[in-house]
């Protein structure tokens, strides 16, 4: 049977996942190997193979459940699942696609707030200078998450060991990096789902 064409309508959650991730959800036969080997499984509200199952069911009612799970953010992208999958289904890729859609839908689980704040601070740092400035990331993340005191006791030692640079290094092509960010964000943002 050819790729999802008789199962997914253009509008469905399932079709969107398959298209964006170049994935074929029907490949998964629910053996559970991904969940068995997942280092983060115990910190997830829905197990990885169950996430795949929900996506296979595909009904729009599962959309909220999947996108609002903490699983998709507690996944650490170690790719053990995709490596071991006997059907060569790329679960790690699925997790990325679900994260992207959950951000666009503003449907993320509150457990993910700090993780998303970290990613935002990380990207902001690259956008400003072209490279990651870790000291700036730490400060930016603390302000976004209000997790002000975590790891501060390590800072003095990191500074004396010169493991933290106070000042960022700005690359010459920083304007080009800004443009890359603008284009990528503009192309990801327009959320024209309702119209189609």
């Amino acid at each position: 049977m050819s790729h999802g064409d008789n199962t997914s309508t253009v509008n469905s959650f399932k079709a969107e996942i398959e298209k964006r991730g170049k994935l074929r959800l029907a490949d998964c036969y629910q053996c559970g190997k991904c969940s068995a080997g997942c280092p983060m499984a115990e910190y997830m509200d829905i197990l990885p193979h169950q996430i795949v199952r929900l996506c296979q069911l595909g009904e729009d009612s599962v959309r909220k459940k999947v996108l609002g799970s903490n699983t998709i953010w507690h996944c650490v992208s170690c790719e053990t699942c995709s490596t071991r999958c006997p059907k060569d289904f790329d679960i790690a890729r699925l997790m990325d696609v679900l994260r992207h859609i959950s951000l666009e839908d503003r449907a993320t689980n509150p457990d993910a707030d700090n993780i998303i704040a970290f990613h935002k601070a990380f990207k902001k740092s690259i956008e400003k200078t072209g490279r990651l400035h870790e000291f700036g990331l730490a400060v930016g993340y603390k302000l976004r998450s209000m997790d002000l005191f975590a790891d501060v006791t390590k800072f003095p030692k990191m500074l004396t060991a010169r493991k933290l640079r106070f000042l960022p290094h700005k690359i010459n092509g920083v304007e080009k990096i800004k443009k890359i960010f603008e284009k990528c964000e503009a192309r990801a943002k327009p959320h024209k789902r309702g119209g189609k």
Binding site: V76, T80, R99, H100, I115, L132, K163, I171, I180
Partner: protein
């Protein structure tokens, strides 16, 4: 002199400056000339691929395109997260001309796909093995080393085309050639959770603890790593593990530091003094 294109990546200039120092010193010791890519940018790492697919391809694509423009056909990227993003991007662009076109348009460059990316182990295999043993000045005799690969150094195998994803051996071969003893242990490809180190610290402390405890149980005196994220987690995060689970005291060394030591390079030049958990007692 062997000339090698070099992409250090952000951590090697910051939290893993010890890795950066030891890569350079080791390279000198092996007679490599590292030619750093000009005006390189960050690969975007986890923050990009988890949040924006195009950004996750564009940032590494700019690096690859710069390398191509500057005449490199091969670059060494010592960070496992960087290699994973760079190699993944190379593959995604090679497999889909439409994606390649879109990414080239975003970065306003014309990457043709001619740059190959090597991790640090591949560089050692290609340019230092098998005769590295003849360059050893200080044999690491009797030192018991647990080689730790973590996740991105070996996964996914169909993207990276490197070693065995479940039972890699390449780091052990190098460490053995230096005269050290490797320990056989089951967690060498288990993830330490570094990507969530700051944002989901409690879980990461648990994962890190499992790895440290198991390496020690199997007799390791030090753990060897080839990824700055693994190092930060296993070394600096060890303080948090100590607080929750009791003192571990297991030094974590970059593979490049072990090679450097074996080549007779002084410890301070290899950044060993920068570690939170000192290796002094086991190195004698």
């Amino acid at each position: 002199m062997i000339k090698i294109g070099y992409y250090p990546g952000c951590s090697l200039e910051g939290t893993s400056s010890d890795y950066g120092m030891s890569v350079r010193k080791m390279a000198e010791g092996l007679g490599w000339e590292l030619r750093e890519l000009e005006d390189w940018n960050c690969c975007g790492a986890t923050a990009a691929h988890q949040t924006n697919h195009l950004l996750a391809l564009s940032l590494p694509a700019r690096i690859l395109a710069l390398a191509e423009e500057q005449g490199f056909t091969e670059i060494l990227a010592p960070c496992a997260a960087c290699t994973s993003r760079l190699i993944g991007t190379n593959k995604a662009l090679a497999e889909d001309p439409e994606t390649a076109k879109e990414i080239n348009e975003i970065i306003e460059m014309n990457y043709k796909g001619t740059v190959k990316v090597l991790n640090i182990i591949q560089a050692l295999q290609k340019y230092a093995m098998p005769d590295i043993a003849q360059k050893v000045r200080r044999k690491l005799d009797g030192l018991k080393v647990a080689c730790y690969y973590g996740c991105l150094l070996v996964r996914q195998p169909k993207v990276l085309e490197f070693d065995d994803a479940e039972e890699p051996k390449s780091m052990e071969q190098i460490v053995t050639a230096l005269g050290a003893e490797v320990v056989d242990w089951p967690l060498k490809t288990d993830c330490c959770g570094a990507g969530l180190s700051m944002s989901l610290t409690s879980a990461v402390v648990d994962l890190t603890h499992k790895i440290l405890e198991n390496a020690k149980f199997h007799g390791a005196q030090v753990v060897a790593v080839a990824c700055p994220m693994c190092h930060s987690n296993l070394d600096m995060r060890q303080l948090d593990v100590n607080r929750r689970y009791g003192k571990q005291n297991l030094p974590i060394l970059f593979l490049t530091q072990l090679v450097g030591l074996a080549l007779g390079i002084p410890e301070k030049d290899l950044g060993l003094k920068k570690h939170f958990v000192k290796a002094t007692s086991v190195l004698k």
